[in-house]
Symmetry: C2
Subunit: 344 residues, 2 copies
């Protein structure tokens, strides 16, 4: 290379470093292989055999990010958990349609390759994939100089799962009298971080290393709690017909997500006294002086998934979910109404 | 809402604006529907029926971004072409394994929702999907205050396609004596932009509205030329057995991409005199005083796809590609060697 000429590396892109990072994560990807996985790292695209045993197989796909929860990861310099957030969020998004995951692909955009950081991120993605029986089939790490701030990055992920056409859940079976089972969340999951950061770092003036008020653990510990996957407890019941609808409580909270599975003529009524608001949400609401409805739109308020079931099955399902390690309870019921969410 | 309390909107996130943008793009998504598409916008995940007629269906998936080509879109304030870049890049990435596209999902991360911009971006994605017969099944637009610079964003996309297991292309059929057909690129496609920007805006001191030296059109016109999809010309030949290997010339150029399909004991020799370097690359090389090998790693150098075929079929295929509107020529041959790329 000439002393005076420009190279790709001069422009901030280091293909060799990218190659090294890729080798570092190759082992992690291999650990996520499932029987359908046909390709190895380095293919242009990942190959996955359509599983047999589905009479009318339908693919269910979803793309999502982690949002500004990433800022907490940057501040705390902990990069190995957000990959799990990403995978679990996506797993839940297709689970609510009755699908089980097949494979996942991740995208990481960053300013300059810091090989340890990328490997940390991918280790979380791989851990999430393994826990959900999902192959990490590929991904892209894009080095974009002058694009992301130093030490910052964005991540997105895409999941593809499968369901038999006759087992697709879309809420059409939901009817008045059904019970709503809530499955507890672990912290904020991946929603409401812009507001939460403003309250925690602004109003409360805390740093990531401070103890979070009324919680056990630092601000980083509490705000980086992982988005929970509900695949394990729900999967055994997907084809039984007992589940009439599932809503994953993400951006928009209970208020915006539950109506997505309510047929015309129905509404969801939640009994606010059926659960105690986790300290985290009480602290945020008080410190930010946030209105109730705003809280229920910005945050999950302790509920990560709602399961609408036949009332007769509710108690036994709560018991099964509890035995499977979930914080589960009957949080409300389906009533006649206008496809909205009521609180009593 | 209380006068003093914080709302999600105060923290920079406007769920209603997101809702409006979503409605704006709903029509575009619908226009991309294909027979397999089962879901409409608003589902948690997109639904797509596995097509029939494949004895051993294998899904091929790939995730990619547009890289710092986005910076040109920002500077030129043109946001409706990069979606096509994104789709076409992904289409080519699975095409080289013999797969045809089924569906696509996009991710847009941005600082603050500018509804017109998001709709522009998605219009390009939708146009790319329609041109490739691919359903835009879903996506995510993530508003991330304090994350992306004002007016900037990142985009990534994931494609899922399908191929019969027996028709997977992986280069194992490539053998010495095969001809290498080159299909011409349209500009830089999506690679080498960090170096190109440094040369064009730094060394040459041009702005996006200046005329690009030796080219017809402005710097923006030339640098935003769309990544070309090679699906249409190649698709008719995918299952004929005449194509021994395909390499999509992306990051790493001919030097790094062609070896990905070379079996042990083979090498690819390109005849530099078989094509004239497009003016764009000559200008970049001269102004940046970039070494030859560096040019061939950073840029596609006028070749967007290489098609390795039986030598006996090469001439007729070149004719067919040409009739289909491609700039196609025999650019080299497979020789005995060490899985590398040679130039003569």
């Amino acid at each position: 290379m000439s002393d005076h000429g420009l190279s790709y590396r001069d422009a901030g892109v280091d293909i060799d470093a990218a190659q090294r990072a890729m080798e570092g994560i190759a082992g992690m990807l291999r650990a996520t292989r499932t029987p359908g996985t046909l390709s190895d790292l380095g293919s242009f695209g990942g190959l996955f055999r359509v599983p047999e045993g589905f009479s009318s197989p339908v693919l269910v796909a979803s793309t999502d990010g982690v949002g500004t929860k990433l800022k907490i990861a940057f501040l705390a310099n902990r990069h190995d958990t957000i990959g799990e957030d990403l995978v679990n969020h996506c797993v839940n998004d297709i689970l609510v349609q009755g699908a089980v995951p097949l494979f996942f692909l991740d995208y990481i955009g960053l300013g300059r390759l810091q090989p340890g950081v990328v490997e940390s991120i991918v280790s979380g993605v791989a851990r999430g994939c393994i826990a959900n029986g999902c192959a990490l089939l590929g991904g892209e790490t894009a080095e974009m100089p002058d694009f992301y701030a130093a030490g910052e990055y964005d991540v997105a992920g895409t999941i593809v799962g499968i369901v038999n056409e006759g087992s697709i859940l879309d809420g059409r079976a939901v009817r008045p009298g059904d019970a709503i089972i809530a499955l507890g969340s672990d912290g904020l999951h991946t929603n409401g971080y812009s507001l939460a950061r403003r309250i925690v770092f602004g109003e409360l003036g805390l740093s990531v290393d401070d103890v979070f008020p009324e919680e056990s653990g630092s601000v980083a510990d509490v705000l980086l709690r992982r988005h929970r996957s509900y695949l394990r407890p729900i999967r055994p019941h997907l084809t039984e017909g007992v589940i009439h609808g599932l809503a994953h409580i993400t951006g928009g909270g209970l208020v915006d997500n539950v109506p997505r599975i309510l047929p015309p003529g129905t509404a969801a009524r939640f009994d606010r006294k059926s659960w105690e608001l986790p300290a985290l949400f009480r602290v945020l609401q008080q410190a930010g002086r946030v209105e109730d409805l705003e809280m229920f739109r910005a945050f999950n308020m302790g509920i990560g998934m709602t399961v609408v079931v036949d009332a007769a099955s509710a108690d036994s399902l709560v018991r099964e979910f509890t035995e499977a390690g979930e914080n589960a309870w009957i949080a409300g019921e389906i009533v006649a109404g206008d496809q909205d969410v009521l609180f009593s």
